[in-house]
Amino acid sequence: MPINYIFPQFEILRDQTRCIKCRVCEKQCANEVHRYDDDYKIMIADESKCVNCHRCVALCPTSALRIIKNPHSFRENSNWTSDTITDIYKQASTAGVLLSSMGNPMSYPVYWDKLLINASQVTNPSIDPLREPMETKTFLGAKKHVIKRDDKGNIISNLSPQLELSTPIMFSAMSYGSLSYNAHESLARAAKNLGILYNTGEGGLHEDFYQYGSNTIVQVASGRFGVHKDYLNAGAAVEIKMGQGAKPGIGGHLPGAKITEDVSKTRMIPIGTDAISPAPHHDIYSIEDLNQLEMSLKNATGFRKPVIVKIAAVHNVAAIASGIARSGADIIAIDGFRGGTGAAPIRIRDNVGIPIELALAAVDTRLRNEGIRDNVSLVVGGSIRSSADIVKAIALGADAVYIATAALLALGCHLCRTCYSGKCNWGIATQREDLVKRLNPEVGYQRLINLITAWNHEIKEMMGGMGINSIEALKGNRFMLRGIGLNQKELDILGVRHAGE
């Protein structure tokens, strides 16, 4: 039926004078966009399949390709946008929930971009990180202030289990299954090399990666995929995933197409079945139940590993975090509504949850008002895009950040938002062997190291500019931030003053 026709989102511009018909684009495109036309002896494209992942563009030896937004449009309408209209056409023909991938692309305020960082002038000196020590080492875990001494007066360490990070950045949860083996290997090796941690997500831990255990956070999600005693004890910390910023209120989605033999073994589920985690944990219907799961995991790991509770940033996040901080968790991870995902219903991704900046500020303030900020460390993600975002997050009160989208970008992701299709041309979010091998973990892990190293340099430069030579003196140091273009309510929630004040 003609009303089912949806015009292609992208237009592929091929400079036929440059095209040498080498057919690289055809071979590279898992979406089967490009094709050689024997009759006309030229390359042609089926643009309806194009996701604008740039794989063909990047590999075209003669730079003959460009992909642009298709200028074809509906009659202009600020209310009924072309996305809204085409989504209705799709649902009218399929009766399905629309899926997409990666973070919320809507134009909600990005508060990171409305916060400005301070620097020293005259009354105190800035510090040059190239010439003076500049420390970013971070410990995560609960802190107790009760000093215990032995009979000689020496302090006895009574610290809860801690995580030590060389810099306050960790790779956020992305499961093996949603990501390829090579992507996971890149993350694990980079984390080890950098002295930080990566996170298994809810897909279990491939046996090849147990060797990176001391740099691994193992996740326990509502589907319990891949969870067993050895798995729990393999990591440096255990994370209970209560929620995810991209899809608060619902569980994970991994299409059956991505459940290959290896993934099925790691997840402990049959090959080819959709892995749909339940929306809640069915043993956690309230805060008192959370404590029981935390204690179970602590018992299973001999009280040697901190337990992280990850929640999505939702309206009541401060009260929820306060409850978690009293529940026995060591670390709270909060995921903002722009956080990425391998697959989420579009409506949920685009409409549920709140920005991480506001959630972080509200949680940090609440925990301090209640005097329990040191019961837990705070880790925030969704979305952290640069070292400046990290500096701002820590100044608002975070102990560390989770990054995932940025890490995938470092591996070659072009944010085409079709991870759920399993046909990632960059070898990241796919299980197809021919595609997976496109991501060389040797290159991938080095690029991740480069990214974090670069960000760490930038963090140090900004800290030095503020006259701060250790990251803990930045934590919660909101005087170092000023808002720009924010209203009083936003400033109050963020706990910062306006620029010029």
Partner: protein
Amino acid sequence: MLREGKDNYRIPSGCAICGIFNKDGRRISGSSIISAIEIMHARSNGLGGGFAGYGIYPEYKDYYAFHVFYDDDRAKVACEEYLNSHFDIVNLSRIPTRKHPKITNEPLIFRYFVMPKTADLISSQLDEQEYTSSCVTAINWDIEGAYVFSSGKDMGVFKAVGYPEDVGSFYRLDEYEAYCWTAHGRYPTNTPGWWGGAHPFSLLDCSIVHNGEISSYDANRRYIEMFGYKCSLLTDTEVIAYILDFLIRKTGLTYEEAANVIAAPFWTTIDRKEQQEREKLTYLRNTFASLLITGPFSIIVGFKGGIMALNDRLKLRSMIVGEKDDTVYISSEESAIRKICKDLDRVYSPRGGEPVIYTLSGGGTNAY
């Protein structure tokens, strides 16, 4: 009262600091500390000066000596009503001052020797010091126009808006005798001219003079406020005083351990230590991470029976120590020490983050 901190603005300042400590407990008049701080005149700008003396009230040494600024009689009446209901007052008087042409706009300045009312103390379930400090906080926070600026035993703080040598003369410090004196000349970028903003800043027996501007201020402030402190003045010195009170009096760290928290050694330094020392330093730095102070500072902390001098860990402010027989001199500049003691046994410049602690030979340090 033109009080600082009220409009939520923070005032950075540079400064001169100075201290004299007699290890043998010999008490000396305030003349020499005034003479020492005077030579560093150029390090102040006339917007604040002050002194702390230890051992000055031997006849009342078991009582808390409250020094209070009042804007007016109304504030005095309200404060005295509060004091009467919480303490037994054994002596009250104006603090003697001498008219000085450069010290003007003085508030009413009163002194009370007090002891918590026994019944109230017991029913509060607090120890004597906690009870007293919470009362001081309550007065400073709740009674408009009243400000307790000294609340220790057998010690006192004297401060005003003006150059320190004029402030010393104004308070007639030549007539007091102490085994430990500290002094401060303030160079704030701006101030409404509030007397309470001058140093030393004190809580119970612990007093602080401070030179510098800390870059960790809001991290420290927001952390320490979790433990019932209210940073109402928005000065670095106030937050440092609360941090020390928290670490030493409430948590039970020694002064040296507290120094290892606020001016913690770099991780590379810690990593080079012997195992036991390494574990201790790591524990302290990790547990009290939010109390690390960064940015330039030099401080002299006076406490019962002792004195501590400490620089930030990069030593971004000058501070020098001189020793002569049983006397220790600490100063921003050596000139101040040479002014009052030409012939020193030893002069040295403490390294950044290295606490210099002297206590009375008879013991009694850390005796909170």
